[in-house]
Symmetry: C2
Subunit: 383 residues, 2 copies
């Protein structure tokens, strides 16, 4: 119903605008008589519920109810009001609504780095789900800094109904503190007591390791990500476990930073390790590593197999295209948004739920899978 109001007048809006179109044509005649604010409320002082009330001949509060409490007013009054609203091209003033209710129909998403392709699909997933449910997404970037992240989060808390933290850098306690204030959902990390969306790395990793084992590899290196990364730890655990299961040897190497450049830098360690297959914390590292190895004359995958993580945009641009353990990032984003919206609606319906009594925070696990491309394969005998 409400939506109908917002979207139906799409075409009604045309008359609304073309009145103004004629305006500029006017200067021909006389000098602009009255000074006109450029972006003002002069032409169309956005209709209010009071205007509607006047047109429909009812009380403003009745208008308010007709527009937000379905069934609270009689069918005919409802129609009367809706017609008036349509006629006046009414749209609610979100601020006026937010003031007394605290609800803003908005939620925040904080990512570590807007230009990191890992987040693209997360952002899109969240945005799509939000929009579909008539929520607005506000985006902020933490520039990979825990402090900036916390600041951004605090700032947002004031204006949003809930918050999604994608791969947060701040520590668990801060996250829980935020979650105490408003619903928070975390992506790519588990935080006790806070709803999370995490890719379950095990399936993807075991597929990858099994594939490597089947191709004759015996020693696998894992290039780790940032020390404080929860995900990096999980991936290393997964690799260890899978290697154990497949009776492969696993060694861990450190990277300076989880970027293409970091991948280049770790190349010498990789070669020194003697491993014939490498899994890297993310695709960026894998790509840099592959570039550097190839530049040194190493043939991929004949001499060394490379497997990344995430399946980011561009992972298939390389030669050979990158084999990678895909996380359904878009799903993470939309899943987080959906989770958040559920929390919001729950709060709405019976907000006086005892704090401790609630069921444990939901954890949404999404599956990972191996995407087999050209950068991994059978090891060729040296020669």
């Amino acid at each position: 119903m409400r939506d109908g109001l917002a979207t139906v007048p799409l075409f009604v809006a045309v008359p609304h605008y073309d009145g103004a179109v004629t305006e500029p044509k006017e200067p021909e005649g006389a000098a602009p008589a009255g000074p006109v604010k450029k972006h003002a409320r002069d032409g169309k002082p956005n209709a209010t519920i009071y205007d509607i009330a006047k047109v429909a001949g009812v009380n403003p509060s009745t208008v308010s109810r007709a527009l937000s409490k379905p069934g609270r007013v009689s069918a005919k009054t409802q129609k009367l009001i809706e017609d008036a609203a349509a006629e006046l091209n009414y749209q609610v003033n979100p601020f006026a609504r937010a003031l007394p209710t605290g609800r803003t129909s908005t939620f925040g998403l904080i990512v570590a780095d807007i230009t990191n392709p890992t987040f693209f699909d997360i952002i899109r997933g969240a945005e799509t789900t939000a929009t579909a449910r008539d929520y607005t997404l506000v985006l902020a970037e933490s520039a990979e800094s825990a402090a900036t992240e916390l600041t951004a989060a605090r700032r947002m808390m004031a204006t949003v109904d809930g918050l999604i933290l994608a791969s947060p850098r701040m520590d668990d306690d801060n996250i829980r503190a935020l979650a105490r204030d408003k619903p928070v959902v975390v992506i790519n990390r588990e935080v006790d007591g806070v709803p999370c969306v995490v890719p379950d790395v095990n399936k993807g990793i075991s597929e990858a390791v099994r594939s490597l084992a089947a191709n004759g590899h015996q020693k696998v290196a894992f290039v780790a990500g940032p020390p404080q990364s929860w995900m990096s730890a999980r991936r290393w655990e997964g690799v260890q476990a899978a290697c154990e299961w497949s009776r492969l040897e696993a060694v861990r190497l450190e990277s300076s930073k989880p970027t293409v450049d970091g991948g280049r830098q770790v190349a010498r360690d990789v070669r020194a390790s003697g491993a014939t297959a490498v899994l890297t914390y993310n695709d960026l590292l894998a790509i840099g590593l592959m570039q550097e190895l190839q530049a040194a004359g190493v043939v991929v995958p004949d001499q060394i197999s490379i497997v990344g993580f995430d399946d980011i945009f561009g992972a298939d641009f390389t030669t050979p295209p990158l084999t990678t353990v895909r996380s359904p990032l878009g799903e993470c984003g939309s899943g987080a948004a959906a989770l958040l919206l559920d929390l919001l609606h729950r709060d709405l319906s019976h907000g006086d739920l005892p704090l401790g009594a609630g069921e444990p925070a939901a954890i949404l696990r999404v599956e990972t899978e191996l995407v087999l491309r050209g950068s991994s394969g059978r090891l060729l005998p040296a020669g």
Copy 2:
């Protein structure tokens, strides 16, 4: 251990909206002693200016002035109020402020496709500039549809102080209509009467074409983008002009869509054209084209040179890495944001500016440059 892992359920059920279920459960008996709203204002009922006023012993309006009108109150009252505010950990309620003033310290950015890497840097540039000036960025996606774009724009207009449209799909009149309502800045397109930020393609293109000419190429193909794309038209014009100047032959080819896939599809036309060098509307096309040509055994750049546009993320992942005409996308984003903020502040300072009398809408042109990588170079004699 490993075994257990394999059985981890794909999705842990997301607790669903079961308000109706829990409610009846309550008759159970003694209600939980202290019913506590989960996300409530109980702990810290966000301090208001009234609280501050009480603490500081002044009138709320004085607090308001102290906090927003610098110099309007005496130094000692100021200090008194600031201390009280700090003590109470006060932060303004943005909605309460927006309601009477209409100012929201927020602006919107609408992009055609959040997952299109072209926009990544634009988004970041805008976000960074916005945040630096204490504005918040709200993001929306038009999913490449003019109608969705317009809807999103209209929806946003209600809650933002201004709007940035990146490569908008809607037509000029609609953009101007929006611009009449609130400040609007357009990226990647020129719209009469609306401030724009556009990369000036000429420098980059002439560098590219000169480089091709110097490498012995004589016939250049341009793979165009969407017919309605303003930018595509500019680029084709630029290519034509530069080719004329360098006395090269230029032919235009059409693409089905400006994506990697579109690039693959256009490969046969490219080969049929007889051109030895190709410029494509964007990098995605270039990458797809290169993949397809290479798959068919064509050696790049020995047999054909490929030059893209934009220098998107991943353009250097290819083998050979892609030569491309770089648009400073980040600059576009931050430039647009800066332009918008200027407009906002101008409106603020003397809002009663006559509509027609203002100087013509600003056009910010940013420079493009050739990024020479491996996909273009000297033509080798067939062999």
